[in-house]
Amino acid sequence: MAANFWLSSHCNQWLLDREEIQLERQRDYQYLKEEDYKKIHIFFINFIQALGEHLKLRQQVIATATLYYKRFYSRNSLKSIDSLLMAPTCTYLAHKTEECGVISNTRFTAGCNAVVKNKFSFAFPGEQFPYRMTQVLECEFFLLEMMDCCLIVYHPYRPLTQYVADLGMEDAILPIAWRILNDSLRTDVSLIYPPYQIALAAIYMACVIQQKDSKQWFADLSVDMDKVLEITQEILQLYELWKSYDERTEICSILSRAPKPKVRPTSATPGQTPSPVPPES
């Protein structure tokens, strides 16, 4: 679908203003510093990545799940639905929309459990994955509705490979730029900028790291370099944040300060609690 991004719902309905996103987050900033708010989403996107890898999903599916997650919380408070339910729900829906068939419910919940226990026990000590499949399926509805059924999304990976081929620097640039794109999923760039610009920013950064000269190539493209540099800045901010942040020791206390849905099941009674609170309209 690469040729038709400009006519897509992604382009026409889901490229958001930075101000608009910030405004929505004011509710959550009453409880959390902006930086901690970011850390919460980084944590749950790490969760989506780990769950995807556990279920052996392609990176494309993981990226789609991540974008669904970002879209949901760009319009909703952390209070509306527990991220620990929303993150796997995004994976579940992305798996279907990316035409990978259906994951059996048993395999899916077992995957969630394994990831909570093996990868993220530092955040949920002694806990199991607290939700049941019926809750994931219910949450899937809210997600679909909140996104206004816009499920086809575009990612920077394909433009990246095309640009790098044109630049003729596959070996030097592609692996690093690809990793930068994976990292960029943890920022807001995919909510704000079209995928091709994000791909260009990743190439730009990879060229700097590898000390490759791409000035002329960028000049010939006649793209809006200001946008590319804005994206670069946002990704660099993420790297800056990572330098002085240890998720394993800090996330528990951040999560404890986060606004929560009225009901969150505890692992003592999995699935015995009422449904998640619907998103505020």
Binding site: A2, N4, S9, L93, K96, E99, E140, F141
Partner: protein
């Protein structure tokens, strides 16, 4: 759900019941497709999801419009624009207007294909006609967005009678040509007043009905298909189109021939078919 008043059941779709309904305030008539959701199952069925996400991207006068998606307790309802009848029922009343109906079908298809969507299940039952006589492609439950790197698709698509020979022989790589063959079958069916062109009983019977057997020079890759069958010694091949569609003009037969090319690589595209001389008598607005 309370927004609409149910009027009558229209039919059973691929994944749910379809009702005619009226918006309580605007009195707009719509079609409600109710999706059954089984407890502890896959959640929203993939076919419904496919239809939702593809129709969200396709807004065109020849493609049925998805107005809304509603959900309530374990049930999903898709709200579509209402169309009075499908092409099957319309056949009787459209004599002499075959060209107008076909060009609308091609226009809808050209739009899908330009947005990289394959319908994959074209048949008269999936072509709806609204009260203004506009033709709409519907039922995108099997449709598929295709990317640039060609992927392997399921060979079990398209209702048998409208399935192209390459797919019948197990081709898993196909593109827009799959819909063009189906369009050709539907075109002939319309020209014959609703008599299906190739009403096969099974895959072999279907292949036997398809006119001339593939030859080495017109379709060299046919032998490489997974379920290739040698039909070179079958009787009755190479039937003339003048016999198959006697009521169709020479230009119409020429277009049909270009749609029903065995080799998918040589089948005409929707865009090119719309410019065929068969449509020369239609006002230019039809082809826009």
């Amino acid at each position: 759900m309370q927004k609409y008043e149910k009027l009558e059941k229209i039919g059973e779709g691929t994944y749910g019941t379809v009702f005619k309904a009226k918006h309580k305030e605007t009195h707009e008539i719509v079609a409600l497709k109710r999706v059954r959701l089984d407890e502890d199952d896959e959640g929203i069925p993939s076919s419904a999801l496919r239809e939702i996400c593809i129709l969200k991207e396709l807004k065109h006068k020849n493609i049925v419009r998805l107005h809304d998606v509603m959900h309530s307790e374990r049930r999903l309802t898709l709200v579509f624009e209402y169309c009075d009848q499908d092409l099957k029922k319309y056949f009787d009343s459209c004599q002499g207007e075959v060209d107008a109906a076909v060009v609308k079908l091609l226009r809808g298809l050209a739009f899908c294909h330009s947005r990289n969507v394959l319908h994959r299940d074209l048949k008269p039952q999936n072509l709806l006609i609204n009260k203004d006589g506009e033709l709409k492609l519907a039922d995108f439950g099997l449709a598929r967005a295709f990317g640039i790197p060609v992927r392997c698709y399921s060979a079990e698509v398209v209702t048998l009678w409208y399935r192209p020979p390459d797919v019948l022989m197990g081709a898993k790589l196909y593109s827009t040509s799959i819909d063009m063959w189906s369009a050709g079958c539907i075109f002939a069916e319309m020209a014959n007043g609703g008599r299906p062109l190739f009403p096969g009983n099974d895959i072999d019977d279907q292949l036997r009905r398809i006119l001339s057997p593939p030859s080495e020079e017109t379709w060299p890759n046919a032998v490489k298909l997974p379920d290739y069958k040698d039909f070179s010694n079958i009787q009755g091949g190479a039937v003339s189109f003048a016999v198959v569609v006697p009521k169709l003009s020479a230009a119409g037969r020429d277009l049909l021939q270009k749609l029903l090319v065995l080799n998918p690589a040589h089948r005409i595209s929707a865009e090119d078919a719309m410019r065929h001389p068969f449509f020369a008598d239609l006002s230019p607005s039809f082809r826009a």
